[in-house]
Symmetry: C2
Subunit: 313 residues, 2 copies
């Protein structure tokens, strides 16, 4: 029979017997009764088919096999300690690895607010950040290669829970030479969509921008499309048109501020997007999820409005 049927306790007992040279003392050390240990040793020996100790009437003498086995056992028990460490780490908040996906129109602007505090407060957390489009992120989330996704609501994916983080207003970004750049206010209804530059398909931001001027939804063919928000910003600065930019991306971009004017859209509605944190409903680390959510809210600038406890799905 193989050693596969041994338990760590067996090894522990074996080492204890070897160390103390006595079943009684080892039984004390292992916190079981002497008869129990005596029988356990007998069982181990019969399982392995090897005599581990010579019974010389009163004294126990480890055989050469017993000695060799105890040495291996000592090594293995160190490894068991490592398992305990893994388990212990699992009980510590925000430790180990957390794989987070963020949409690319948010990640580069959000993360700088979060990371310093995260590293300071939870140095044992290894954060893996992945930027992609919403759909890809959701696929990875449900597939298990991401633990958390930060994206714009609504996602409404079965088996995925969303926790509201904050509302990020949109700003109209327009070249200072454009007619919208003037001191007079601009309403959503004024956006005719003709001069509007957008991100390429797949970015939720484009859909959201088009939602704001719904009448023009189907006239957005042949428009200019950009791959990144920064390219978009440069296109606006170059006079290619106007666009809607999320608040966090407007933050501190002094380099282009002479060329671009940012203004809020007029109207009763607060134009913008709702950012949520999503995770599999079955994801075990609820505490980590909530600690992470709260840390994000705490680190945000005043330009966005944090959402306290809202949870969907």
């Amino acid at each position: 029979m193989s050693a596969k049927n041994l338990s760590f306790r067996d090894l522990q007992c074996l080492v204890a017997i070897c160390d103390s040279g006595s079943i009684s003392k080892a039984a004390d050390a292992c916190a079981i009764s002497q008869p129990s240990l005596s029988e356990r040793l007998k069982r181990i020996e019969s399982q392995l088919g090897v005599e581990l100790f010579e019974r010389n009437k009163r004294s126990l003498l480890p055989s050469s096999t017993g000695e060799a086995l105890a040495a291996k056992a000592r090594e293995l028990l160190v490894g068991v300690g490592a398992i305990d460490e893994v388990v212990a780490a699992a009980h510590k908040p925000l430790s180990g690895t957390l794989r987070v996906g963020v949409i690319s129109t948010l990640g580069p602007y959000l993360m700088p607010y979060i990371l310093p505090q995260l590293r300071k407060q939870y140095p044992e957390l290894e954060l893996i950040i992945h930027e992609d489009l919403t759909d890809a992120l959701i696929t990875e989330l449900t597939g298990g290669s991401l633990d958390i996704v930060i994206a714009a609501a609504p996602l409404e994916v079965p088996g995925v829970r969303e926790i509201g983080l904050f509302h990020e207003p949109f700003f109209l970004a327009v070249s200072k030479l454009h007619k919208f750049a003037g001191p007079h206010s601009t309403a959503a209804a004024d956006l005719d969509g003709k001069d509007m530059v957008l991100l390429e398909d797949g970015h939720c931001l484009s859909d959201q921008a088009l939602d704001i001027c719904p009448a023009k939804r189907r006239t957005n063919k042949n428009r200019l499309h950009s791959m990144s928000l920064e390219t978009l910003r440069h296109m606006v600065a170059a006079g290619a048109g106007y666009t809607l930019l999320p608040s966090l991306s407007v933050g501190n971009k002094p380099s282009l501020s002479k060329l671009i004017s940012y203004k809020k859209l007029d109207g009763k509605r607060q134009y913008g997007r709702q950012i949520v944190l999503a995770h599999r409903s079955s994801f075990a680390r609820k505490t980590d999820v909530h600690l992470f959510s709260q840390l994000i809210r705490d680190c945000l600038p005043d330009s966005v409005e944090t959402i306290l406890t809202s949870t969907r799905h």
Copy 2:
């Protein structure tokens, strides 16, 4: 609760589940039924207090803790293989370590005959050879720091079994200038003990030599004593007297053969000593003991008479 209560089987199952991503398939791989594995996993998780897998209705997804734990488990299972190797080695004849004690008047002359064959036939045997006086060897044998002792009979120690190996004749070693060196035969009765040189106290050879001339047993004070057989031989060569040397030590010593004459003692008795192999009666490796005994007998030169199966005690 700690990982100490896990068994290797638990780890094996954990790894199997992680590898296959399915309880059913892992159950097949582990050769148990699916419900058994399902419950085992549940038990492990509750023991560790950690969710190792996310149960997403139909699919199993290892949590980050589960993944980390499986990685550790894989390492540990390699170590378990090492235990199996130790056990397997214990089943192989004459492998592992064998600690052999030999009396110093025999070891240097016997071992050269044995070691080549031993190394050839059992290359996996690590032989530890220890030379000392009989009493010290017996103490180490019963104390457990030696497995086997080769010495002159009788030992008759409780709990120690003796196996006859061979009879080693004594030769009278005498300077060619001495009166005994002549062509006429010398009888035991002729040994007056006055010119006899012996090893220091503790060597059984001295007692045996004195036994041969019993009348002189108590007149051996003030005699010359030597610490090693080779010193003894040189003393004889230098004309300090005569002595009795065991056959194996006479073997091939051409350097002194011009100065020393070796001759058998006359008489009906075969003067000499009985060499036995001794081990604790409780010593588990009976097979090894007999293989070792037989190998010694097989390697001996014709100058000694091997004993086939004699066993004492």
